[in-house]
Symmetry: D2
Subunit: 159 residues, 4 copies
């Protein structure tokens, strides 16, 4: 398994050659979160992990819905496509909301992260049902569970 | 600068202790893209890099808009907040569209990636104007330029 | 107050002249929902109203955040901008998820609609605080309350 | 064909009885756009129509993708589902961006609205191919064309 930065580095190396302009591979949104003039009280690592997992889960679910759409057994994957789409929507909205630190409303944040955790669980369970036949569903189920865990850990910290 | 995987690993280590369950840090959406039963003709590395940069840029712009909102010189940052919001919207939509490989419509994909490149350029220019006073704007301008480059490289490959 | 169809009709008339091509003003998504081959059990009117209110609330919150951004008293409106952005994100995701009728997961739908109701309440309360000074906040608070009601009515029906 | 306001009124009447609390049916985001302290130069009617059509088109495409997913001939509708998803993403991002009037960047707005017009055209053409067999595709193609027209009219006005 590649890490995100390594992935970007790899794709750059492949595209531009090993010395392709010396561009550094990195993911940067967390640096900007760290530079907020009035950071929220919530433990920053939990925030950033939840956002990172929401981004990866949203993209993974979008990709899994699309991979399902290309399968010959598509008819059996209707429910999986649907839950992938729902989960992607929930993760994107949650990632945006959790990213904001200005004047947070904790009730709103908790309800959103709880809904995201529920969406990730439902999608993981459905993907699990197809994991034996479709590797993309197996991988996607794992991402959903990781995102659910990050949501639950953040909820625990918010109290 | 941390890489994405390293960032997730770091936040997990901090949260759960170095041996916190042995969970592997990784970003996974690209694995699912690689498992599509009928992959598109577009060079996969360019696709994946464009998606990864769109995800990072969308989250960075959401975070920069929010950091601007917390600054005492907020009045001078109105245009920056607005362009950050626009750029986040463009990058999210583009990330989703580029992720899909089933029956792609190249005109649609090109127009979308071009619009994203334009949004990234406009946001980078505006953030640059505030870079001397606001570190989050300086970092965000760099992310926007990286995302613009990834869009332009993908456009070149699509032809 | 204009209705949506009337609004579209009005803007068309103004733009193209009263006989501007005879285009009919309408909003159509609900027709497509009614044509689903396997409609969900949920009372269709409640579904459609919830979606319509989510669309209007998302657009209203996006517009109110932007109007706040243009005000001279912007500094006092930071929290309002932030909650407007959160509420827009929650309403858009909810509108999409409630629209889907294929293989619904009721736990997921309930958690999402509950989170949306909570977001609408928080945003309405914050907009109310500025309603005396900013007409756009007064109008936006009313939209948020209407959307909250539509969410709550749908939740009651789902049980 | 019901209009949006009439639709909301109808669903309320049905749900709560003809005298169901006297709530007025309306769509309100355009009022908030009209209350912006520094409105943009673009002709307001064209802005509002473009936003209204983007909202309806996004919801229609989400609903058509979902209706396709429920059809027995799903295998032939793969490309239609995919373009519906793309078009919904493009319309949502465009609706948000066009809604904002603070410090607009015209290059960004034009590129975005052009991409949306392209997405609507591609989706309309694909939906047309299935219009004879699937009424939801026929209706969706019409919505996409209406949205394309609203985008093109706005582009003409921006110059």
């Amino acid at each position: 398994m590649l890490r995100f930065g390594a992935l970007i580095a790899h794709t750059r190396d492949t595209t531009f050659g090993k010395n392709g302009g010396g561009r550094e591979a990195s993911v940067t949104f967390h640096e900007i979160i760290n530079l907020h003039p009035h950071p929220s009280d919530v433990e920053r690592n939990l925030l950033v992990r939840c956002i990172a997992e929401c981004l990866d889960c949203a993209a993974s679910c979008t990709a899994c819905a699309d991979a399902c759409l290309g399968e010959s057994e598509l008819a059996e994957l209707r429910g999986c496509v649907r839950l992938n789409l729902d989960c992607a929507d929930a993760c994107e909205a949650t990632g945006r909301i959790v990213t904001r630190q200005t004047s947070p409303d904790l009730r709103l944040i908790k309800a959103t992260v709880e809904a995201c955790s529920t969406a990730c669980r439902a999608c993981a369970e459905e993907c699990d049902r197809h994991a034996a036949h479709h590797e993309h569903c197996r991988v996607c189920a794992a991402v959903c569970r990781r995102c659910k865990q990050a949501c639950d850990d953040l909820l625990l910290a918010i109290g």
